[in-house]
């Protein structure tokens, strides 16, 4: 195909590159600046904001992890992210499996109700959920927070997992039944291993959502013992007033796991971000 390259083409290309360059700049500059600043001295941050660090020392990192107990918050975040992810993955996989593979009275109603929860804007259920956790005497416990996280992502998981199970041939169920495998065994040993793609997408989506969650973590916990990383961030200003190096080091520790997860599971994270938009 021969392309005629007139002036308009070059204007378009120039504009295009300029625009994409701008997009890249606003996406990475703030983050890069925070990470680089975490290696600079307080004075250098204030006097020359754009200079590169002279050395790459991890003193500030060691200091925040030990003194500010960031390691403890890190472990908290890990626990309240991972446990509900596996819990809800199992629960929603069971639900999505029977909706995808079996006929039973109420099936369509259940599916409609579960997926319609997508239309409820975030934070509108705040007070009732707050009261549920209070009434269970789970305020300021990791258990309470995990319970709330367990309920997150219901609609999106249903969408993703039902589609996954639908793509597993029905003949496998029949074959397993003929071979004498029971309901539970068929699900655990035949269906789940064949659905790794969908399970990992839904799992990454829920983990990332839990790891980054701030709203309920701030609302439902109060003591440092149950604090997660995003909440700990909000206490930074009190903790290190005017110690920017350590503030930036702590910030880097909080954002890095999400970015690493993205680097190693790009496909799943992309799918989960795409769905998080629909979720909102």
């Amino acid at each position: 195909m021969i392309k005629t390259r007139n002036a308009g083409y070059y204007v378009y290309r120039t504009f295009g590159y300029a625009f994409l360059l701008f997009i890249v700049a606003v996406s990475v500059f703030p983050l890069l600046w925070v990470i680089l600043s975490s290696f600079k001295s307080n004075g250098a941050i204030l006097s020359s904001p754009f200079s590169l660090p002279d050395t790459f020392g991890f003193d500030a990192y060691a200091s925040v992890l030990r003194q500010y107990d960031l390691l403890h918050y890190f472990v908290n975040s890990l626990v309240v992210s991972i446990v509900p992810t596996f819990g809800s993955l199992l629960i929603y996989a069971m639900g999505a499996y029977v909706i995808a593979k079996y006929r039973f009275p109420g099936k369509n109603l259940f599916y409609a109700l579960f997926t319609l929860t997508l239309l409820v804007p975030g934070h509108t259920r705040t007070q009732p959920i707050f009261s549920i956790i209070m009434n269970l005497s789970l305020y300021d416990t990791k258990t309470g927070l995990m319970l709330v996280y367990l309920s997150g992502g219901l609609a999106m998981s249903m969408f993703i997992l039902r589609a996954t199970f639908l793509s597993v041939p029905y003949e496998l169920n029949e074959a397993a039944t003929i071979d004498g495998a029971g309901f539970l065994r068929t699900f655990m040993t035949v269906i789940l291993p064949l659905s790794k793609t969908g399970l990992s997408t839904a799992g990454v989506m829920m983990f990332l959502g839990n790891w980054n969650e701030y709203f309920y973590a701030a609302l439902l916990t109060s003591s440092p013992a149950n604090r997660t990383l995003p909440v700990a961030l909000s206490f930074f200003n009190q903790a290190f007033s005017y110690d920017y190096t350590r503030m930036f080091a702590a910030l880097t520790i909080v954002v890095l796991p999400g970015i690493l997860l993205y680097v190693f599971a790009q496909e799943q994270v992309t799918a989960s971000v795409a769905s998080s938009g629909i979720k909102g």
């Binding site: 629960i91 701030y214 938009g277």
Partner: protein, 297 residues
Amino acid sequence: MKHPQRLSRLERQALPSVYLFILPTLLIFLVFYLTPILTVLVTAFTRWDGFNAPAFIGFENFAKLFARESFRYALRNLSLWGLIAMTLHVLIGVVVAFLLFDRFKGWKAVRAVYMIPNVISAAAWAMIYRFVFNNDYGLLNNLIRSVNPAFSVNWFYESPAAFAAITYTWLFYAVIVTLLVLADLMAVPQELYEAATIDGASGFQVTRHIKLPLCRNAIGTAVICSGTARISMYEAISLTTRGGPGNDTMNLPILLVNSISDMRYGMANAIALIMFVIGIILLVFVKRAFRLNDPAT
């Protein structure tokens, strides 16, 4: 395979297991979705402190809300932010999608990098922006000062600047729009674009008459997502301005959380109900405008 209307013997045998499997999901739905939504719906019309039984007071919560300046500011801000999100923000995402689709050099890297702000915590992003907008050592003001040394604005603390600063924290980050639109553009066979070009259509004509109509659904969905995301925006405000200065950056979730802290649960749920209704109106309106349920034309 066509299933008969009535359940077979095998299917009936499986029923107890089937219901056992769906029970946990159903419980989560009942406890964390249905009951909360019904609670909001009912108690929005009551005075309720969480200890005493809710007392029905009709529309008093709503009347009180509309009389409060902070609430009127929250509605004004939501309208402005919603409008900016559904137009400029979506436009940015669509332009990026079209540019990426035209295979600019390094387009894959751009797509990968554009994702990063969306994989990190909104709380962390708000904190980062607090430093970016800091007047003394912040990234933005020092960048501006390299051109205009006298420049000095305390973004999150001054009156018209704070609204703009909050807007900046999300305006350019439209990767969800980009992903939606890009998926639709890529779903179309490449030959269609080539055929149009061979027939003498200019790049602009291909965009205007082929590409744009083809991603109408994606753009419509993106408009809904971007608009509704503004209703529940929380971290970017709570961790920066807390709604100030004055009520300049006030929004509904901030008011809702404040009402819960004040033990005014009826009021909190009136705000939640308003958020819910605005979300539904937006959804219905945009669906109509973009004819989202119609087959592609």
